[in-house]
Amino acid sequence: MDDLIIAGRRFTSRLLVGTGKFASNAVMAEAIAATGCEIVTVALRRVDIDNPGDDMLAHIDRDKYLLLPNTSGARDAEEAVRLARLARAAGCEPWVKLEVTPDPYYLLPDPIETLKAAEILVKEGFIVLPYINADPVLAKRLQEVGTATVMPLGAPIGTNRGLRTREQVAIIIEQAIVPVVVDAGLGAPSHAAEAMELGADAVLVNTALAVAAHPARMAAAFKKGVEAGREGYLAGLGEERRQAEASSPLTGFLRN
């Protein structure tokens, strides 16, 4: 079985889904179902995590999906850690998508505060999935402190611009010893396929579904994109050929 394994837990789907920006919670629930995903991330600042009657939470079947609380909106490590603890205290599993985004415009993650928060949360027993810029050294520093994945962005969040960080993400994938989940910026099923073909373990999408004319149809399309990309990766892509380069033979001496 080609399962995705994060912190020892198996998932058959390699698509993770965010819950922001949907026209309604009903539309969101329909889109989530169409992705076939098993991990759904929810911004702690958007829900009343203590309240079982919270309308967004009520639309997410906790038996079917792993609810992955995220710390979106946290400006520094301290805020992120506080939010994560609140979620756990409210009965969530100790999983957290760590987002520390002091810049309110592009919502780019703060590498220093993210590393600090990750270290604290890992020590407290959280399974930490950090959202990061596509920085291979940061990815290594995070896996060293014990994060369960790294989640490099493909492009600034919400931009739908695709895998603009391809070169850096490729290095992260090459060197990582934890699953690599490409998060943010993927705007089309082909973008998801590209990330998976490159060898990403999974992708996370949100805006692309939420702003589509038909979110559930787009969700189904992403599901196929992820599966196609993964299949292509496993099947061993035939790479583009470089022009054969004529030059003086380097192995001629073996025949003399």
């Binding site: 290594k140 060197q175 990582a176 380069e245 380097l250 192995t251």
Partner: protein, 374 residues
């Protein structure tokens, strides 16, 4: 996860069979791949890849020039002692060999070091056998302290230590560790190492990881080529290097390619490696590891070294003597193995320049690790 756990996932004979079954199509795909995975490494090590040696060499050359430029780093080995309590069947220092034994005094070490310094070397590799009474960690650290003002980089190729031992070495001024597994085939390993501490396969296998954990900046690995089946050995070397570079990502991994040479004791290679196979192995590992240092010693002939320089090799020794005291003194009788390329360091330097490459004598500085200096 340690490399031991990773190695356990493979069966040696099975790996060899898979490599031998690779097809030309698989070789072509591996040659075109931007990044190589273990399956593709198998393809490039296969008999089918022999027909693709020239394109492999061209790509290895391009990759190496792109990552390293046209440079060859020169280093010299300094043998501190040939006393050894191990019984490695292939080694001239084997405890059973009736050869004169010698352990240099600190003054003798310094005399050797001065000769090498005078020749221009700034990268030094200290070598010993494994014999607790001849040389222990404290003695080695003392030797390092004595000679380190003369060199910018000091590496060790000695008996495996605990992590604490490597920390002590780092403090004394060592920045690199070289340790060969000799063979990744457990059965053969047991046969080749009938007694002594070295008999413990797992202890040796995890040595580079202990060195990496202690903060050594360069980690050199390799297999003694001619012992096991070279295709499988090269595959495991590649896996080992990948593992080390992922888990000890602050350290630069290098690979050496020691081919068995005649040694005192008269051991003949079990699986001799012909030159074309040797070239294929080097090119395949270069394609797997674009940034790894690839090291070639004076065991190889001058002619082969001159050509291999262009195919991925980035470091060479020159003018080496494999007997303790052999640089400053006359004694040559207790060498570990015979060398082939007997040109002087200056001659090797000239050869490198004549091929349009730069001979690099210094590519490190002791100040990086010298906490006392700041």
């Amino acid at each position: 996860m340690t490399f031991l756990e990773e190695l356990e996932k493979y069966n040696y004979d099975d790996v060899l069979a898979r490599i031998e079954a690779k097809t030309p199509q698989e070789v072509e795909r591996a040659l075109a791949a931007e990044r190589l995975h273990p399956e593709e490494l198998m393809a490039l090590l296969s008999p089918a890849a022999a027909a693709y040696l020239e394109p492999m060499a061209q790509r290895a050359h391009r990759t190496t020039v792109q990552r390293f430029g046209r440079t060859i780093l020169l280093y010299a080995p300094l043998y501190l002692s040939n006393e050894c309590s191990n019984g490695c069947l292939y080694c001239g220092f084997n405890a059973h060999n009736k050869v004169p034994r010698r352990t240099l005094t600190l003054d003798e070490v310094e005399a050797e070091a001065r000769v090498l310094h005078e020749q221009g070397f700034r990268h030094l590799l200290l070598v010993t056998g494994e014999h607790a009474r001849a040389i222990d960690n404290d003695a080695l650290a003392a030797a390092v302290r004595r000679i380190r003002p003369l060199f910018s980089s000091v590496s060790i190729e000695v008996y495996p230590m605990e992590e604490a031992g490597y920390r002590q070495m780092v403090e004394a001024g060592v920045d690199g560790l070289t340790v060969y597994q000799e063979t990744y085939d457990r059965r053969l390993y047991a046969e080749m190492h009938p007694f002594g501490r070295k008999r413990d396969f797992d202890w040796r296998l995890l040595t580079p990881e202990r060195g990496g954990a202690a903060g050594l900046r360069r980690i050199g690995i390799g297999a003694l080529l001619g012992l096991g089946q070279f295709r499988a050995e090269a595959f495991f070397i590649g896996l080992h290097a990948l593992h080390l570079s992922k888990h000890f990502w602050r350290s630069l991994v290098s690979i050496s390619f020691p081919r068995i040479r005649p040694a005192d004791g008269g051991f003949a290679p079990l699986h001799p490696i012909a030159d074309p196979d040797f070239v294929q192995l080097i090119c395949a590992l270069r394609l797997l590891l674009p940034d790894a240092g690839l090291v070639l010693s004076t065991r190889e002939s001058a002619r082969l070294r001159d050509h291999l320089m262009l195919l991925g090799v980035t470091q060479m020794s020159a003018g080496s003597c494999t007997a303790p005291g052999g640089y400053a003194g006359e004694e040559q009788s207790t060498r570990q193995f015979a060398i082939d390329d007997d040109r002087t360091p200056a001659e090797v330097g000239r050869m490198i320049r004549s091929q349009g490459y730069e001979a690099v004598w210094k590519d490190w500085d002791g100040a990086f690790l010298d906490k006392a200096a700041s």
